[in-house]
């Protein structure tokens, strides 16, 4: 029996960013794919399977885009190591498929020369051939094939054209028994890069005739979209639409999910006999899953926009426009999108930080993302503002409550910029990585690939919710349920639980910032998700269904708390490190408890400091 039957032949897709590797990967493998992380790094590993016409089974690896095997980021290091066979737990690929954008060959030809030095059998896929043909670009495939010494296949990944030819070539290459030659690759010096460029240039001159109808759309669109003033205006407009969509489109399905889980909880409540099991399933499990899944619609709407803009080619433009504005604080232009997403929820924001290729920039972005005011804080803000801030006009069209709300958002953004600046100074000692970014040509996004990508994001979110967030939710439920209240209990049940005990025990720590023990107790279930604190306050103050009945709870709080305490609580929630889901995702994405610890520590410290200053100032003003 041949070896091929025993294990699938490994094929790796390598190429510049935006050449259609992922589209090609999807066309090749369809739904037979699996996404995971590479061991030890937060780089997505996409592997898929297919069977060729000749019956050989192939395992395809979609590698991160790169301009060179001389890796400059963790993603590119994965590509290099995968190609060289140095990746822990992975063997070198049997065949490398170099994926090239047929309309933009210069840089990829140089990469191909590097790949040739590695010595693995190679096939060149000239992708985006539809665009090349539309432009009237002529490529002498025969000649190029001869010079490069590898078969060339033209493909249109988004329309699945050329896929069979590609697999046939890969198959033939393996069947012919071509063996890998010695790996003579080494990090090229500047001189060697220049020589390779000259060689690429020579190949281009000899075998590629410039397009008869070059793309003019990109230049026309860029005249507006990159314009310093008009471009920023368009960007702001887009953001406005995106935010509207996140809150309006996601509203109804989120309500539906919430209602569905309430119904399910109620139904299970009726089915099960009273007791711990019922409490656990209805209040712990179902409510826990529900409180995470309500964010799914928002996350999907956000990712729909992000994927559309990314596929269209706009994201690099947004990064260009925002680079200087964010760069002042030491953030990368590409940090813009993750931070923006964090206004909905820090979890997709932190996940979206993967678009930043420099490790330091990515880390800074992840660390400050939770400072953006996420939608889970809104119920808390609304409650406290409603209870303590008078609803009165302070100017034409300006309302004091609205102003305070705006102030809370603004403080969040400002502190993110300051923290990013400080992180850069402390951890990265001020080093600023070079900022070099290709601005891809604009392309119509393909509906299928958008849908597929969106589905993938949903799967990742749900599986994370299951594996990280849910256990934490259950832990919080256990803490606020056990031990149960004595028979003659007068106070609410939570008061007798571990959460209550912890609340009472650590309350002295919170006395300087004006928190009473009820607030401290409410913070503990609030660890599961920020808005749960509202429900928890309702529980400790024994106001039934606090979320639906915010008015009653607000009135109660206004009686019980001083204005200084109310303001202090608001200040705390600007930073509010107590979101288990966020911490879980940070651990996942940074792969480090140390960074997760740094985040928890700095946010708690800032929250405490902000509350302390707010409380003391308010007391001094006589609002105590």
């Amino acid at each position: 029996m041949s070896e091929a039957v025993l294990r699938p032949a490994r094929v790796a897709l390598v190429g510049n960013p935006n050449t259609g590797k992922t589209a090609l990967f999807n066309a090749l493998t369809g739904s037979r794919q699996k996404v995971a992380n590479y061991a030890g790094v937060t780089v997505e590993r996409k592997e898929g399977h297919l069977t060729t016409a000749a019956g050989r089974s192939l395992s395809i690896l979609d590698l991160p885009g790169t301009y060179s095997l001389r890796a400059r980021s963790p993603d590119e290091a994965v590509t290099r190591d995968a190609v060289l066979g140095k990746l822990a737990g992975e063997e070198a690929p049997d065949v490398v498929v170099a994926v090239a954008d047929a309309t933009n060959l210069r840089l990829v030809l140089r990469l191909i020369l590097e790949l040739k030095a590695v010595g693995r059998p190679m096939v060149l896929a000239l992708n985006m051939y539809d665009i090349a043909q539309r432009q009237g670009l002529r490529i002498d495939l025969e000649g190029l094939q001869r010079e490069l010494g590898c078969p060339i296949v033209t493909t249109v990944a988004t329309r699945k054209r050329g896929i069979d030819e590609l697999t046939a070539q890969v198959d033939a290459l393996i069947a012919s028994g071509v063996l890998a030659t010695d790996n003579v690759w080494h990090e090229p010096s500047a001189g060697e890069i220049r020589t390779a460029h000259r060689e690429a240039q020579r190949l281009l001159r000899a075998y590629v005739r410039p397009p008869e109808r070059p793309d003019t759309l990109t230049a026309k669109l860029d005249a507006v979209l990159l314009h310093p003033v008009a471009g920023l205006a368009v960007l702001l407009g887009l953001l406005f639409v995106m935010f509207q969509a996140v809150f309006t489109w996601a509203g109804p399905p989120a309500d539906l999910i919430e209602a569905g889980f309430a119904l399910l909880g109620g139904w299970v409540g009726q089915m099960l006999p009273d007791g711990l099991l019922k409490d656990f399933i209805a209040d712990g499990l179902i409510a826990g899953v529900g409180s995470v899944l309500v964010f799914l619609p928002q996350i999907l709407v956000l990712f729909l926009f992000i994927i559309l803009l990314e596929d269209f080619g706009y994201m690099a433009r947004a990064a260009f426009l925002m680079d200087k504005i964010m760069g002042g604080a030491g953030l990368h232009g590409r940090a813009f999108i993750p931070l923006l997403s964090s206004f909905a929820c820090a979890i997709p924001g932190i996940m979206a930080a993967r678009v930043i290729d420099q490790k330091r920039d990515r880390m800074t972005t992840i660390l400050v993302a939770p400072l953006m005011t996420c939608s889970a804080r809104i119920p808390v803000y609304t409650l406290i503002i409603g209870a303590f801030i008078p609803d009165r006009a302070v100017g034409p069209g300006l309302n004091l409550q609205g102003l305070v709300m705006f102030g809370l958002y603004a403080t969040g953004i400002l502190s993110a910029l300051v923290v990013a600046f400080v992180i850069r100074k402390i951890f990265w000692r001020g080093a600023v990585e070079p900022f070099l970014m290709e601005l891809p040509t604009y392309k119509m996004p393909s509906a299928e690939s958008v849908a597929r990508n969106l589905l993938l994001r949903a799967q990742i979110f749900i599986s994370r919710a299951g594996r990280i967030i849910l256990p934490l939710m259950v832990l919080v439920w256990v803490l606020s349920t056990f031990p149960g209240p004595p028979a003659a209990a007068t106070a609410p049940a939570i008061d007798y639980s571990f959460a209550g005990m912890i609340g009472h025990a650590i309350q002295p720590l919170f006395a300087p910032i004006g928190f009473n023990w009820q607030m401290v107790v409410a913070l503990i279930p609030g660890f599961a998700a920020r808005e749960v604190a509202v429900a928890a306050l309702g529980t400790v103050y024994a106001v039934g269904d606090a979320e639906a009945n915010a008015g009653a709870l607000g009135a109660r709080l206004a009686e019980q708390w001083s204005l200084a305490t109310g303001l202090s609580f608001l200040a705390w929630y600007i930073f509010a490190p107590q979101c288990a889901a966020t911490l879980g995702v940070v651990k996942r994405e940074t792969n480090s408890w140390a960074w997760t610890g740094v985040m928890l520590f700095y946010m708690t410290a800032l929250a405490y400091l902000a509350s302390l200053v707010t409380y003391r100032t308010a007391v001094a003003l006589g609002w105590g």
């Binding site: 060179s68 220049r194 680079d323 232009g333 001020g430 080093a431 070079p434 900022f435 070099l436 290709e438």
Partner: protein, 105 residues
């Protein structure tokens, strides 16, 4: 206006007659890249030779044609460049090592 770098002026007496650093070019400027040479290492986070190689890998090589398309609103930074038949964005500080000769208009 983005002032010409003092070193750029000094250099015009040497082997770069009529050349400027790409970092000092204005929107609409077009021409040819004459030399990519890493010669100052202030706080790039990578050493000069690494910066030079990254520029080369992005297609900033001697002989390449360029046109400065757009610049950012604040401090005219970063800049968007058409480089041969692709487009690239970079910060002016990273463009300092690229010497260009502008076309005479």
């Amino acid at each position: 206006m983005h002032d010409m770098h003092p070193e750029a002026r000094a250099e015009t007496q040497g082997d770069h007659v009529g050349c400027i650093r790409l970092s000092t070019a204005q929107p609409g400027a077009r021409g040819e890249i004459v030399e990519v040479r890493a010669d100052h290492a202030d706080g790039h986070g990578v050493d000069v030779h690494e910066l030079e190689r990254r520029l080369l890998e992005f297609g900033f090589v001697e002989g390449a044609r360029f046109e400065l398309l757009h610049q950012g609103l604040i401090f005219a930074d970063p800049i968007a460049i058409r480089l041969d038949d692709m487009r690239v964005a970079l910060r002016r500080r990273d463009a300092e090592d690229i010497w260009v000769r502008l076309d005479v208009r």
